[in-house]
């Protein structure tokens, strides 16, 4: 399956792109997708533990099962206000 990964805030600077796409096996999890992104962009590995992960507009845990065409967002801690 194919998923889109969007980067926000300074993650865009680190990856030098706003989004990428991933080819993943069926039943892949969000955590597995995150690991695949880090393999592609090793600089994000330093922020792995503080990275927030969403699918669509909802936060999801690493165990979340992805579907084809899902849109993942990866970003640093939020800072509104």
């Amino acid at each position: 399956m194919t998923v889109t990964v969007k980067f926000w805030s300074y993650f865009k600077d680190h990856t030098e792109c706003a989004e990428t796409s991933l080819e993943l096996p069926p039943d892949a999890t969000l955590g597995e997708a995150h690991a695949a992104v880090i393999a592609q962009f090793p600089v994000l590995g330093d922020m792995q533990n503080s990275t927030l992960k969403a699918v669509g507009v909802n936060y999801q845990p690493d165990e979340f099962l992805l579907n084809d065409d899902d849109e993942i967002s990866l970003f640093p801690p939020v800072q509104g206000g």
């Binding site: 969403a54 967002s73 939020v78």
Partner: protein, 132 residues
């Protein structure tokens, strides 16, 4: 509970917001909070903050926070304005208004809203230095 959320690049027009206020006769507290950009960001003196939002998710997360407020307190209305883009020092980046029967629930809900926003609403800031 009535809710209104605005993410905008424009300066916050408080006079217009207050003119639009709707408050029934049973309400005794109208609480307004301004979050204002400070000149100090850590060790640095800055000129502004550049806010970036993931708009769709930010709106959804604010809606979830509003739902939690509605479950916990008898708030009549919540209005939130958060700026995006460059906000100069000493200008508000955040404007909140809560209408409630009494001040206690208005203050509690206000604190809750801001704390939750800072935990989960996807908005980020970048300091803008005076020379930029």
């Amino acid at each position: 509970m009535k809710t209104q959320l605005t993410l905008t690049p424009d300066p916050i027009d408080e006079r217009a917001l207050i003119a639009e206020r709707e408050m029934t006769v049973g309400m005794g507290a109208a609480l307004i909070f301004h979050g204002v950009v400070r000149a100090q960001e850590g060790e640095a003196t800055i000129a502004a903050i550049d806010y970036e939002a993931f708009d769709d998710m930010a709106c959804h997360q604010f809606e979830l926070i509003f739902e939690e407020i509605d479950r916990q307190w008898p708030i009549e209305s919540v209005r939130v304005v958060h700026r995006v883009g460059v906000v100069p020092v000493n200008e508000p980046s955040l404007w909140l208004e809560l209408i409630a029967p009494h001040r206690a629930e208005a203050f509690q809900a206000c604190q809750f809203l801001i704390n939750e926003m800072k935990q989960r609403v996807p908005i980020w800031k970048r300091p803008v230095l005076p020379s930029a």
